[in-house]
């Protein structure tokens, strides 16, 4: 080849490569900057760090709100990450487990069986973004999305989130630009779980006998089976958990069936629904769908004991190789403290105060009759002092060092209303 021709060809190749590099960099920047952050903030840290995880938790919002990995660490020395997703179908949970295991292979994989009765693979698209966006594009992700979603547009949107996020240019701000440039975001101090702060007192609905099961097999059951088989083939202990929830009889039958299926396939099962863990006066966040911190602590404690006893997981609390987890726990407590200070209502303060890092002092008037608060105080083991000439309710919440975090007074009108910021 003539030298001039060679140089010309070389320049052309370089110019095409430069163009490609510029466009790809731009697309990566836009994808990071314009993406919604819920998923990456919740699960992004799991994909970025080099930790060893004993347990990975999968499933629906019952898992996200019901099991706290940092409490498993504090009380059992077990390292865990909660990868559950709001509204996650069991097909989505199965595929998410496959994707997660490629990054960190755990000793135990726990699956919440809430949606065992569903006869579909799909889930709400927005929630699927939260679940799958943190995972980079790969053959496995393509396989997952193709299996879960039938609509081509939905598939493309999940595989190339810029497809839908590019329209967020209108919201672009400095923080988004920084995120686009840096490519990482704040890690979840809760290791993927999410507190739901508040309390609703409920009437207990009757539970069907555990032997009451569905006659037909659902699509969700197929994915439970796939989950178990994959774990077994990869030396991961599969655990099915039925987290407490006020659910319909049909859903109860489906969960009972799923637990029986799990046992039949050799998975370990933990049926918390029938364990009488939950105090219906103090442990629900909403109409029996999600646990508040008080309830979640009980579910987490039950799971911790199960993992220790049934799966043979030991404590890493004294292991210096896990010292980063102690630092993570301090961050978690700092986050809880901030959350506590951001609350406004007595039931919120008291549902959070169930966490071990807080202590509560309460003073009430002789006429104080708010049953929810009284039940919460009783559940926390707090005996309120009675004072005639004061507000109806005075709450003082301290951290483990005895620092006062909250000092508030409330009067009972139609509801408890804050009167003085003490």
């Amino acid at each position: 080849m003539h030298p001039a021709s060679f140089i010309s060809s070389f320049k052309r190749v370089i110019s095409v490569l430069v163009l490609l590099a510029l466009v790809i960099s731009g697309v990566v920047f836009l994808s990071r900057a314009l993406a919604i952050t819920d998923g990456p903030e919740k699960n992004g840290a799991f994909l970025q760090d080099d930790r060893q995880y004993d347990v990975l938790l999968f499933g629906s919002s019952h898992m996200v709100n019901g099991i706290y990995p940092m409490e498993l660490w504090k009380n059992y020395g077990i390292t865990a990450y909660d990868l559950g997703g709001h509204g996650a179908s069991l097909a989505a949970s199965y595929w998410e487990m496959r994707l997660a295991v490629e990054k960190h292979k755990p000793k135990v994989a726990v699956l919440d069986v809430l949606f065992a009765g569903s006869d579909y693979t799909e889930m709400e698209l927005g929630l699927a973004h939260e679940l799958f966006d943190p995972y980079p594009l790969s053959r496995l992700k393509i396989q997952a999305v193709r299996d879960i979603f039938a609509n081509k547009g939905d598939r493309m949107e999940l595989l190339f989130p810029l497809d839908v996020y590019h329209n967020r240019w209108k919201e672009l701000d400095t923080e988004m630009v920084e995120r686009g440039l840096a490519g990482c975001m704040q890690a979840s101090p809760e290791k993927g779980s999410e507190l739901r702060v508040g309390t609703v007192a409920l009437e207990r609905i009757p539970l069907l006998p555990e032997t009451d099961r569905l006659e037909a097999r659902t699509i969700a059951m197929d994915y439970i089976e796939k989950f178990i088989i994959f774990c077994q083939e990869n030396d991961i202990i599969p655990v099915l958990v039925y987290i407490p929830g006020q659910i319909s009889e049909e859903w109860q039958r489906a969960c009972n069936t799923a637990m029986a299926l799990g046992e039949a396939l050799g998975a370990k099962t933990l049926n918390q629904q029938y364990m009488d863990l939950i105090d219906f006066n103090t442990d629900w966040y909403d109409e029996g769908r999600h646990l508040n911190p008080s309830g979640a602590l009980k579910a987490t404690d039950s799971l911790g004991a199960f993992l220790q006893d049934q799966c043979g997981l030991g404590s890493h609390l004294q292991d210096s190789a896990y010292s980063a987890w102690q630092e993570d726990y301090r961050m978690y407590v700092a986050y809880l403290t901030e959350t506590m200070q951001a609350q406004t209502d007595p039931d919120q303060f008291l549902s959070l105060a169930a966490l071990e890092c807080f202590t509560v002092e309460a003073t009430i008037s002789p006429d104080f009759s708010d049953q929810t608060v009284l039940h919460q105080l009783q559940s926390l083991g707090v005996t309120p002092a009675i004072r005639k000439d004061g507000p109806d309710l005075e709450l003082i919440i301290r951290d483990t060092q005895g620092n006062e975090l909250v000092h508030k007074c409330f009067e009972t009108e139609t509801t408890l209303t804050e009167t003085v910021d003490a």
């Binding site: 939905d154 810029l162 497809d163």
Partner: protein, 486 residues
């Protein structure tokens, strides 16, 4: 499969790569296969129709070379344009006849037929018919290689919405295939990207505003309808010129040079000039195959005006089997007739007033008047039927309320503040580029002369602007190019 789809983003680079790595003699075969695959994505059965028309014009072309018989020629026109008539106009004809008979008190005795219209039928039948007419007239010899003729009829970048090619322009390129060199590839890519910009950043954004206002015109005062109609001028230009640029750019990258279809039409200073700049391949088709055979302008004045009116009525009908399209065509025909009749008077007035016709202000004035006349006709083109168009005109003339369209009112037509400004900025960019092109500054040529690093940076930035500000992705109906339905 449309150009702005993930499917095409995979399909086109694959075809391009194959045509570049395979021997040149395979190129026509590969392009033909790709064209039929592309067309099959719109319905496999329509490939049979496409093949049927191709065989018909191929056989008749060869027969006409041997014996120049009129019946063979008419058979060919019946086969090509007959297919168009059957699929596109049969139901419209029956509906209109029924309506007429009902008015005469004879009821509606004719049955309706609802045939699905094959994609791009108006374009490929016109291209095939044009070929047959040229062969019959002896303009060029018929194509003897079936593969080349089949590619001429079905070439995928142009099959759905043109530009409508001519045999003497395209067939020689298929006969002597050439690989696009690097500068052609770059030029084609630039044209393709410009097409994407017009479609995604302007047309589809303008469509949101236009659809909102036209979709519930009863709830808007006249000034909003006027504004939406002005924006529709942007939409249809961005949409159709955008498609044409994509087709021309893609073809250029494959080594095929397609004819220009748009030449800054809104810079035209008369309606006549507008039609020399808008949808050039269709205008010239009508000029060569309808207007000239009718006698063109080399006849009595009244006949010339009759010919003009016929051409525009047919052109209106070509755009859609609805009366509002016919009225749109008639308006353009009448513009030209009125312009012709009043020309001597206008000349006299300008001379008497000593208006300097070379000034920029005079040219701008003429451009503005031409644009407003064209835009007025667009109202009939866009409205959902003739009744809707008349109802909208009634609102405009009886309830204009110009003061209603101030400040925040601009953001009540489906586009929020940022979207509205994005549309304005993109339109500004497009106008600037078109103005430069109108003054003879070829932007692609200028771009090609720049330093390579600047070129790549600018092109990357332009592509990222399209990705960010374009209306695309799941949930957006960006798939429907306006001219597909014609």
């Amino acid at each position: 499969m449309v150009f702005n789809s993930y499917g095409f983003l995979l399909f086109f680079p694959s075809v391009l790569l194959l045509t570049r790595v395979c021997p040149l003699k395979w190129r026509n075969g590969l392009l033909l296969l790709a064209s039929y695959l592309f067309y099959a994505s719109w319905g496999k059965r329509w490939c049979v129709l496409l093949l049927g028309i191709t065989i018909l014009v191929y056989v008749l072309g060869l027969l006409l070379e041997r014996k120049r018989r009129k019946y063979l020629f008419l058979l060919g026109l019946l086969g090509t344009l007959g297919a168009l008539l059957a699929f596109k106009y049969l139901d419209f004809g029956l509906y209109s006849l029924n309506a007429l008979l009902t008015k005469l008190g004879l009821g509606a005795p004719l049955p309706r037929v609802s045939l699905l219209q094959p994609a791009g039928i108006s374009f490929f039948t016109f291209q095939a018919a044009g070929y047959l007419i040229d062969v019959y007239k002896g303009k060029y010899k018929p194509e003897k290689n079936f593969l080349r003729l089949a590619l001429f009829v079905s070439f995928f970048p142009q099959i759905l919405s043109g530009p409508i090619g001519r045999g003497d322009q395209l067939l020689p390129q298929y006969e002597k295939p050439q690989k696009a060199d690097f500068s052609q590839l770059r030029r084609g890519f630039l044209i393709l990207t410009w097409g994407f910009f017009l479609k995604l950043c302007i047309a589809d954004r303008a469509a949101i505003l236009v659809n909102t206002v036209y979709g519930s015109y009863e709830s808007y005062s006249g000034i909003f309808l006027v504004f939406a109609t002005l924006v529709y001028a942007l939409q249809i230009y961005g949409d159709f010129a955008g498609y044409s640029y994509m087709a021309i750019g893609a073809a250029e990258m494959l080594g095929i040079h397609l004819p220009k279809n748009f030449d800054t039409p809104y810079f035209a200073q008369s309606i006549q000039e507008f039609w020399r700049r808008w949808h050039i391949s269709l205008s010239t088709w009508f000029r060569d195959y309808v207007y000239f055979p009718l006698g063109g302008s080399r006849c009595a004045v009244w006949k010339k005006y009759r010919n003009v009116l016929i051409v525009f009525l047919v052109s209106g009908l070509w755009h859609g089997a609805m009366w509002n399209f016919v009225v749109w065509g008639a308006i353009h025909g009448l513009y030209q007739i009125f312009g012709g009749i009043t020309k001597p008077l206008r000349e006299k007035m300008l001379n008497a007033l000593r208006v300097d016709r070379e000034t920029a202000s005079y040219r701008l004035f003429r451009m503005a008047i031409t644009f407003l006349l064209v835009d007025f006709a667009w109202l009939f083109f866009r409205a959902d039927g003739l009744e809707a168009a008349i109802a909208m005109l009634r609102v405009i003339f009886t309830n204009l309320t110009p003061t209603a369209l101030v400040g925040e009112a601009f953001y009540t037509m489906g586009l929020d503040r940022q979207e509205f400004w994005a549309l304005l900025l993109c339109t500004g960019g497009m106008t600037l580029i078109d103005a430069l092109r109108c003054r003879g500054h070829g932007i692609t040529e200028w771009f090609g002369r720049q330093n390579w690093l600047f070129r790549e940076l600018a092109l990357a930035a332009f592509m990222l602007i399209i990705i960010t500000f374009g209306i695309w992705g799941n949930g957006f109906d960006a798939s429907s190019f306006i001219y597909f339905k014609f």
